[in-house]
Amino acid sequence: MASLHYWARRLIQIIFVVLGIAVINFFLLHLAPGDAASVLAGEAGAASPDYMAALRAQFGLDQPLYIQFARYIGNILTFNLGFSFRQGLPVLDLILQRLPATLLLMGTSIGFAFLGGSALGVLAARRVGRGADIVISTVALLFYATPLFWIGIVLVVVFSVWLDWLPVGGMSSIESGYGGIAYALDVARHLVLPAVTLGLFYLAAYTRLMRASVLSVMSRDFIRSARARGVDERRLMRRHVVPNALLPVVTMLGVQIGSILGGAVLVETVFAWPGLGRLAFEALFQRDLNLLLGILLCSSIIVVLVNLGVDLLYSVLDPRIELN
């Protein structure tokens, strides 16, 4: 019963978020000066007023704003994200084309950051004040403070150009025509640098957080008394300290999912990764508002879904927490 209530509440929340985002973004983005027709005409290098008028009529930009808005909301309510005139495809198609790349990149980065960060955090906490802790904490702090795009460029120069170990960018080697496992390996090779670039900042963040969290859990009474009773140290870590210490890290992951998507814009730009972040960036500057609205909606839904996952994970890590 409680869980039914929980799902109903979540569903209402999602609907609320979707509509809210649609309304805010629609009006926000229409404040931007210039329109898609002028961008297209500008890129064409030459144009005439009737060419631009024809484009505007084709895009529906000649309609008053309230009609455009009514149409847009009407579309959303029927699960239709509209049409990108710029790209000549329905927005949903475009998003679905790019979504796998972004999910792959984000998933790998988060996995890398979460696993690596937790492990390093535990390691540092176990050796608190000693060499390993100092090295881990210092390096984490440095990565935490370095601009992300900067790391990306340096990684390309070192690992692609100097050492020639990994490809410069893109998602696959087109000319090779790989299939099956060879293709998967090829994509994996292309994935390494962007995923590491995007993940390093969060790795640093989670390392710091996990270290603090482990230290705080270890100072709690029930752990202290267990230690005093001579409970096996490893068992204690695995069974009690780590699960409890993971709670704030998981929370943080839920909170940061939106910002990881934002970071994807930079990483996808540096590495020519064909994902949603770059598409959003381009849509913004091309005034492809239908597409941009669609991507923003889609990323908001991802954020809500991930937070849903975080709640579920919570109840796994700590059975005392119920879904409510």
Partner: protein, 296 residues
């Protein structure tokens, strides 16, 4: 990058009472990390304060040959960039701009975040519900995309960048302040004040706000660091203000000569790193110091 959320390291829970200043300062000075952070920050503040006095000329002036490497000419210890602008003058003046962007953007975000947090936490019920829904809504929009959109709409200039960072980085803070306020609101002390018939604005401003200051201060130092990183990312994507010199703008401009003249982008990049490092160390130190106090 708007990557770090203000509640990154978990603000100290339940710092109920206003801090006594000197005691906190002593505590802070006993932490080596915090001391290093303070020293670095002092260096950067010195650079910002002395820029006009040490380098009185416009740092955007083309004063020498382009691409003088650091050490080529003692008059330009850090060398010059592609248009012959003095890099050290740029870094000193850039400190002013970058810090100003960080501080003002954080201030904007504090105004919104603290305001919403206090109102929601104090009044509860409908208002709380409404404000928290709005906060959640803002939290689901990827903050960096939001910043990009706002800067694109307002056009890249310092006020636009500050505003964009300010209005996108408050939700985390609002939630922390709300949680603190909720706790204080339920305390007997506040119940008593309400019973005495004090107007709620006075209770909020003079009795609840001071109690939430500790997490706000910790968050603020992190938010300044994040704002500086965000500005540099915007500049990287070509959305900096071209009329003033900021570290982000210098990195952005130097990026295209990275492979040939790496120092042009690297030196201001190091300045960003140092500033962000200093603020984070200070934030950590404050957090620990406040934590320790609370554990007493």
């Amino acid at each position: 990058m708007a990557l770090a959320e203000p509640d990154e390291l978990g603000a100290p829970a339940g710092a109920l009472m206003p801090q006594s200043g000197p005691c906190l300062a002593m505590r802070l000075l006993r932490r080596p990390c915090a001391v290093i952070g303070l020293i670095l920050l002092a260096v950067i503040l010195f650079m910002a304060a002395s820029a006009n006095w040490l380098y009185p000329d416009d740092p955007l002036d083309m004063v020498a040959l382009p691409f003088l490497w650091p050490g080529d000419d003692p008059a330009f210890p850090l060398g010059t960039d592609m248009l012959g602008r003095d890099l050290i003058a740029g870094i000193f003046h850039g400190a002013r701009v970058s810090l100003a962007i960080g501080v003002v953007a954080t201030f904007v975000s504090l105004l919104i975040g603290v305001g919403i947090g206090l109102l929601a936490g104090y009044h509860g019920k409908r208002l709380d519900q409404g404000l928290m829904r709005a906060t959640e809504l803002f939290q689901t929009i990827p903050p960096f995309l939001f910043v990009l959109a706002v800067v694109a709409i307002l056009q890249p200039s310092i006020p636009a960048i500050v505003l964009a960072i300010g209005i996108t980085s408050w939700p985390g803070l609002a939630r922390i302040v709300r949680a603190e306020t909720l706790k204080l609101r339920q305390s007997e002390f506040v119940e008593a004040l309400i019973g005495m018939g004090l107007p709620s604005w006075r209770i909020i401003l003079f009795h609840i706000l001071p109690g939430t200051l500790a997490p706000i201060i910790v968050s603020a130092s992190m938010m300044v660091a994040t704002a500086i990183l965000t500005e540099s990312s915007l500049a990287f994507l070509g959305l900096g203000d071209p009329n003033v010199i900021s570290w982000g703008g210098m990195v952005g401009a130097g990026r295209e000569v990275l492979r040939t003249d790496w120092y042009v982008a690297t030196l201001p990049g190091i300045a960003i790193l140092v500033a962000v490092l200093a603020l984070n160390l200070l934030g950590d130190g404050l957090n620990d110091a406040l934590d320790a106090k609370q554990h007493q």
